[in-house]
């Protein structure tokens, strides 16, 4: 029983950065922009969130710092793909290269000493302590609670039930019609990319501010690419994307746990770590056929 409770608890914890990233990427792709800058944005959120928290002593101010960096990353992506109309694939990859470069450069300048810089990480919330396995599962970081119970439902509501969400979906499906209807395609795409960037950065910052309490190189380790897959797997729907994140995190957590379980030591750790990626690819192959891409996916909008 404790085994499954531990796995469940780890699943929600490991899913958290993916949930923030997936919800963020859903905003941008619903607006018609594939943001391959997600890997770099999560990386910059992780680093700058940590750096601000380290210098102010407060992880929540660090989180604010990460959000600001994420907004800026989203605005830069918007400048490239919305204002200039540059190729989205390459702009996103370029953004990732620049943001990882800047983060590692700043890391080098700020934390040069031989001792590892650490912060007091965000505390765990333990509302159901004493309820046995359920208490174990509910023992999570605040950002996990906020992610699953605030960000996910509100984002669904915003995208599906509000005028802003309607505008985002309109500029992603048919920007010409949206423009005729008086919606500013540029403005809405900027807003979607900036909201998305902020959420991605929070996803990255969760790892440094809550889980680790420190920053290490290669901290995102391809989670951004997983996010891109989860959005397609979720067919641009928030809850399906979250489900994908949970499945990925469950396989990941199970693999990590099995590695230290008697009887499974013989299986190399690397196979366990590679398994979730393989499962995502298989899931895409099984479910990704003829997926309904947003109508204006990858297309810059120009009034002609």
């Amino acid at each position: 029983m404790t085994f499954f409770a531990d796995i469940m608890a780890a699943t929600f914890r490991n899913a958290t950065p993916l949930v923030y990233g997936t919800v963020g990427e859903t905003y941008t792709e619903r607006a018609g922009i594939l943001n391959l800058g997600v890997e770099g944005t999560m990386y910059a959120g992780a680093f700058f969130g940590f750096a601000v928290a380290y210098h102010t002593g407060d992880p929540w101010i660090g989180l604010l710092g990460a959000i600001i960096v994420g907004l800026m990353a989203g605005a830069l992506m918007a400048l490239m793909t919305v204002t200039l109309g540059a190729n989205q694939h390459v702009s996103g990859l370029g953004l990732t290269i620049v943001l990882i470069g800047i983060s590692e450069f700043a890391n080098r300048l700020m934390f040069t000493g031989s001792t590892l810089a650490r912060i007091e990480p965000m505390p765990l919330w333990d509302p159901l302590a004493g309820l046995g396995p359920i208490g174990t599962i509910a023992n999570q970081y605040g950002l996990t609670y906020i992610g699953f119970f605030v960000v996910v439902p509100i984002s669904w509501w915003v995208l599906m039930k509000t005028p802003l969400g309607l505008s985002i979906r309109a500029v992603g499906e048919n920007p010409e019609a949206a423009d005729v209807a008086g919606i500013s395609v540029f403005r809405i795409r900027y807003i979607a990319l900036m909201i998305g960037g902020a959420l991605m950065a929070v996803g990255g910052a969760f790892i440094t501010l809550a889980v680790l309490g420190t920053f290490t190189l290669d901290i995102i380790a391809g989670r951004g690419w997983v996010v891109i897959a989860l959005v397609i797997f979720g067919r641009w729907r928030i809850f399906r994307g979250v489900l994908g994140a949970l499945i990925f995190a469950a396989v990941y957590s199970l693999g990590l746990r099995l590695h230290i379980t008697p009887g499974f030591e013989g299986i190399p750790n690397e196979i366990m770590l590679a398994l979730p990626y393989v499962i995502v690819i298989v899931a895409l192959a099984l479910s990704g056929r003829n997926v309904p891409y947003p109508g204006a996916y990858l297309k810059p909008y120009r009034r002609s």
């Binding site: 109309g85 540059a86 370029g94 391809g222 897959a229 190399p268 810059p300």
Partner: protein
């Protein structure tokens, strides 16, 4: 009429000049700030990054050496992008080529070099192509976006490398995660050994192979009917299909060739530089390949120039660590900034130009080197 055309041409040249100046100012402002933040004089820093490596024979040869892997990966990316196949898995395909080279290199002790080298190159090419096969099949058979699948296989490839190095290939004596040193017969000869004009350096056979690959790729792309088909598919899959080109088969072949070239990059790094497999065999050469391909405008001469430029930047960045105490990470910032500013400038130029010609972008001929806005063939946006 003639006058009109000439004025338009002059306008275009003028506009291109303005945009180029704007781009250069942006690059200087961004990278200059990075240098200032690092505590260096920007003028000294630019000199150290771009000029110093060219001033001595040893560093000049090192520029060619550093350019070698990214000339391969740049070519691999450019070929795929030209066909509208977004192979962003060059990093993983390179790692698989490196694994193949290290594997073959361990078992060929005493074999003749002339047999070993082709075997190893073929093995690496095959391994790279094999790693590219699954995303390519998913794309052409089922319409699964290759961007995602190629990207996701990069971390998997790195895990394969780590699994081998922490498992069966771990150095039995030192316990380091390094494969055993490869047989001498498998090492790429250094160019200074058989070209008398070339001085002492690490420059190896891989550079020659990279140049040969680029020349062949240039010839095939621009001078053969195969190249014409590749470019046609990249410009308009629907048009190409209408013209009787087998789009899926073309994409599959392009993906495999791209993967094979990436695999040879891995062979070149293992057999020419490291002589063994290490976890750090590629510090992101696959992603740098995207930068090289885009800076080169997806043309082979462009890839050659961009690869040499980034090789220059790489040597400059590592020497500036010592001479000016600029952290080497600034090199990545410079590289990414170059990429963003250049594709931004190209986008502005195209947009203004097509507008002037009263040709909305979606009706006009898409620019040859930027096949953008094309969703996967099987899932055309409605």
């Amino acid at each position: 009429m003639t006058l009109e055309l000439r004025r338009m041409a002059e306008n275009r040249v003028g506009r291109a000049g303005m945009i180029a100046i704007g781009a250069i100012i942006t690059i200087l402002a961004v990278t200059g700030s990075a240098f200032v933040i690092a505590g260096a004089n920007p003028v000294d820093a630019y000199y150290a990054y771009f000029i110093t490596p060219l001033t001595r024979e040893f560093t000049l040869l090192e520029v060619l050496n550093k350019a070698t892997p990214i000339l391969f990966t740049g070519t691999a990316v450019a070929i795929a992008f030209r066909a509208g196949y977004w192979n962003i898995g060059v990093e993983g395909q390179l790692l698989m080529g490196a694994v193949a080279a290290a594997g073959i290199g361990q078992v060929v002790e005493g074999w003749p070099t002339l047999l070993v080298l082709p075997l190893m190159i073929a093995g690496g090419a095959l391994a790279g192509a094999a790693w590219a096969l699954v995303p390519a099949l998913l794309r052409v058979r089922m319409g699964i976006d290759e961007v995602v699948t190629t990207l996701l296989l990069n971390p998997v490839a790195l895990l394969v490398v780590q699994g081998l190095l922490h498992g069966p290939w771990k150095d039995p004596e030192t316990g380091f995660p390094e494969s055993p040193r490869m047989a001498e017969a498998a090492e790429f000869p250094q160019l200074s050994e058989f070209i008398p004009l070339i001085g002492r350096s690490r420059l190896h056979l891989g550079f020659i192979i990279a140049i040969v690959v680029i020349v062949i790729a240039w010839w095939v792309l621009s001078r053969t009917s195969t190249g014409l088909r590749v470019r046609a598919v990249g410009l308009s899959p629907h048009g190409a299909r209408f013209a009787g080109i087998k789009v899926e088969r073309t994409l599959l072949r392009v993906a495999l060739v791209s993967g094979a070239i990436a695999g040879i990059a891995g062979v070149s790094e293992v057999a020419g530089i490291q002589f063994r497999l290490t976890e750090g065999v590629s510090p992101g050469f696959g992603y740098t390949g995207v930068v090289v391909a885009m800076l080169g405008g997806l043309t082979m001469p462009g890839v050659l120039i961009a690869g040499l430029l980034l090789g220059d930047l790489s040597v400059g960045a590592s020497s500036a660590v010592r001479s000016l105490q600029i952290p080497s990470q600034v090199g990545d910032v410079v590289q990414g900034t170059l990429l963003l500013v250049v594709i931004g400038a190209v986008a502005i130029y195209r947009w203004r130009t097509t507008r002037e010609d009263d040709r909305p972008p979606d009706e006009g001929e898409p620019p040859p080197d930027e096949p953008e806005g094309q969703a996967p063939v099987e899932t055309p946006p409605t």
